[in-house]
């Protein structure tokens, strides 16, 4: 999975379908990157994610809780229609801001 760290912000770019077939690797890569960098803003670029279920959401929510405890924030970018419905239904879109691009998300990092 593609990850990029820039000035306190970690950009994460998962691809494909986020279900239990990939959540272990997804969680592990995220934990490793959060451990080795000082991250105050985590940006999930979901533009290449075509499917997500509650297991995939759980990984995003878990990192959200972790960042929140440390005073950091989590943003979403490039959410596709079928993924958006799941995010809305779960309430995740009400706690995480969504931006049109990674640049915009980074600019609003505050």
């Amino acid at each position: 999975m593609d990850c990029e760290y820039r000035q306190g912000t970690l950009f994460v770019r998962p691809r494909g379908e986020l279900d239990i077939g990939v959540t272990d690797v997804f969680r592990k890569v995220l934990e490793e990157n959060l451990a080795k960098n000082s991250v105050n803003h985590l940006v999930f670029n979901l533009s290449q994610v075509s499917f997500i279920d509650s297991s995939g959401l759980g990984v995003i929510l878990g990192r959200y809780k972790r960042l929140q405890q440390q005073g950091g924030r989590v943003s979403l970018v490039g959410v596709q229609p079928q993924v958006r419905r799941i995010l809305v239904l779960s309430g995740l879109l009400t706690v995480m801001p969504e931006y049109a691009s990674e640049e915009e998300a980074a600019a609003r990092a505050g």
Binding site: I20, G21, S54, G58, Q82, I86, L89
Partner: protein
């Protein structure tokens, strides 16, 4: 045209995607919208993931079964496992009632939201059977009712 198929597979995480594609291919024999098919895929993912994670505690040697039936424009799915079962089904069906702190407790909520009907039968130590159905044209009707 009425139809029926049955899929059985090992309780491996990679088989969630496999089950999803298979059920979607079967469902496409009805005139579901692409949106309906996406919803069916989420419901299948949740039911199968539950069988693997909860039913079989992530042990790969369990068998998950899906019986798919098409009858009169309705798709019925019965997802079954012979795993540890659910002691209190009523409680399990409530939102955020996960027994696993790493999970969201939204699986049954999604199944209920995306299918027309959901019925869960379970016996501790024996296994769990999740029966869901969805009819062609029901999403439109649902939304109309909500407005």
């Amino acid at each position: 045209m009425d139809n029926q198929a049955k899929l059985e597979f090992k309780s491996l995480p990679a088989n969630v995607a496999f089950a999803r594609v298979t059920v979607a291919a079967f469902a496409s024999q009805l005139d579901f919208t692409l949106n309906d098919i996406e919803e069916i895929k989420v419901a299948v993912s949740e039911a199968v993931a539950n069988a693997i994670i909860h039913g079989y505690d992530n042990q790969p040697d369990g068998i998950v079964t899906i019986v798919m039936t098409i009858s009169n424009g309705t798709l019925e799915l019965v997802v079954g496992d012979r795993g540890k079962g659910i002691a209190n089904v009523k409680k399990a069906l409530e939102p955020s009632s996960s027994t696993d702190p790493e999970r969201m407790g939204l699986g049954f909520v999604f199944m209920q939201s995306f299918m027309d009907s959901l019925h869960v039968e379970s016996a501790p130590g024996k296994g769990t059977t999740v029966t869901m159905s969805k009819s062609v044209g029901s999403s439109g009707k649902k939304e109309q009712l909500e407005h």
